[in-house]
C-alpha cells in the first residue's frame, strides 16, 4: 500500500539537514565532459552545478529523500520539473551552504499510471559571505504501486 497521504503531507516544510557543497575542479571536469559540454576545471561553473550542488549539499542522499516520502529507487521515481535560478555565477572551487525543504506534495490518480505522488522541494545556495546566489526547485514523481 502507498504511504498514507496524511503521513506524506507531514514532511512539507520540514527543513532538510542542509550542509555544504564544494565545486571540486576534477568533478566539474568529469561532469561537464559526461554531458558533452566544454570540460573545464577553472572559472565559472556550469549552471547545472546549481542543481548538482543543491542535491549534494541538502544533507541527505537521494535514497534518503525517497525514503522520506515512503519510496525507493526500485519504484522507478521520475523527474517532474526542475528549475535553476542564478543570481551570481557559481565558481569552480568555491564552497556553498545549502538549505531547503519539501515545499509541496500532491497525490494524483492517472487512468493509465494509477496512483502517483508529485513531491516538490526547494533548495537555496549561499556563498561564503552568506549571500544567496542560486536556487534549485525540483519535483519527483513517485509511482505508488500496490
Amino acid at each position: 500500500m502507498p504511504i498514507p497521504l496524511e503521513e506524506l503531507e507531514q514532511v512539507v516544510g520540514r527543513p532538510f539537514p542542509g550542509g555544504s557543497y564544494t565545486i571540486e575542479p576534477y568533478r566539474h571536469w568529469l561532469m561537464t565532459d559526461a554531458v558533452g559540454g566544454p570540460a573545464t576545471s577553472t572559472g565559472e561553473a556550469s549552471a547545472m552545478e546549481v542543481y548538482y550542488g543543491a542535491l549534494a549539499g541538502m544533507g541527505m542522499t537521494v535514497d534518503g529523500l525517497f525514503a522520506l516520502v515512503g519510496a525507493s529507487a526500485a519504484d522507478g521515481p521520475m523527474f517532474g520539473e526542475a528549475e535553476i535560478e542564478q543570481r551570481r555565477p557559481l565558481q569552480i572551487g568555491a564552497t556553498y551552504r545549502v538549505s531547503g525543504a519539501i515545499t509541496s506534495v500532491q497525490r494524483k490518480h492517472g487512468r493509465r499510471a494509477g496512483v502517483f505522488d508529485i513531491v516538490e522541494f526547494r533548495l537555496e545556495l549561499t556563498d561564503e559571505r552568506g549571500e544567496h546566489v542560486a536556487t534549485s526547485t525540483n519535483s519527483f514523481i513517485f509511482p505508488r504501486r500496490d
Binding site: M31, G76, E83
Partner: protein, 136 residues
C-alpha cells in the same frame, strides 16, 4: 548580437547518447537508481532494454546550448524544464531554443526563451523556458 522575438538559437545535437556517461554521472551524483546502468532493472520495469539517461543530463544538454549562445554559464539567469519522456542510450537528441521576448531589468538586457530537447520535431522529451542575459 542582434536578438529579437523569433530568433532561433544554434541547435546542439547529441548524435548518440552514451551509456558510459550515465555510469559516470550516477557515480558523481550518488544516484542509486539502477535504470541508468543496469539493463535488467530497465527490463523489469517494462521500459525496454537500453539504459535510461538521467533527467539532469537531458537538462544539461539545454544548459550547454544556452551557455554556448550566451557566452558564459553565469548569463543563464533561470531555466525551468519539464521532463516529458525518457531518453535511452543510443538515442539521437537535439537541444533547441527560440527567443520569445527581450526586455530590460535592473539595467540588464534579458532574453526570454522557449527551450526543448527533441528526438524529432514530433517527439519532445523535455521542454521549458529560460531567461538569459545578453549583450546590450
Amino acid at each position: 548580437m542582434h536578438v529579437e522575438p523569433g530568433t532561433e538559437l544554434p541547435p546542439l545535437r547529441i548524435e548518440s547518447v552514451p551509456a558510459e556517461a550515465m555510469k559516470t554521472v550516477a557515480a558523481l551524483l550518488h544516484d542509486p537508481t539502477p535504470i541508468h546502468w543496469d539493463v535488467e532493472s530497465v527490463r523489469a520495469l517494462g521500459m525496454g532494454d537500453r539504459p535510461v539517461n538521467q533527467g539532469p543530463n537531458n537538462m544539461a544538454y539545454v544548459v550547454n546550448m544556452l551557455t554556448t549562445w550566451a557566452g558564459s554559464p553565469g548569463r543563464i539567469r533561470r531555466l525551468r524544464v519539464r521532463f516529458l519522456g525518457n531518453v535511452f542510450a543510443g538515442d539521437s537528441v537535439t537541444a533547441r531554443g527560440v527567443v520569445t521576448g527581450v526586455r530590460e531589468e535592473d539595467g540588464e538586457r534579458l532574453a526570454d526563451l522557449d527551450v526543448w530537447l527533441e528526438r524529432s520535431a514530433e517527439d519532445r522529451v523535455l521542454d521549458g523556458t529560460a531567461t538569459v542575459a545578453i549583450d546590450a
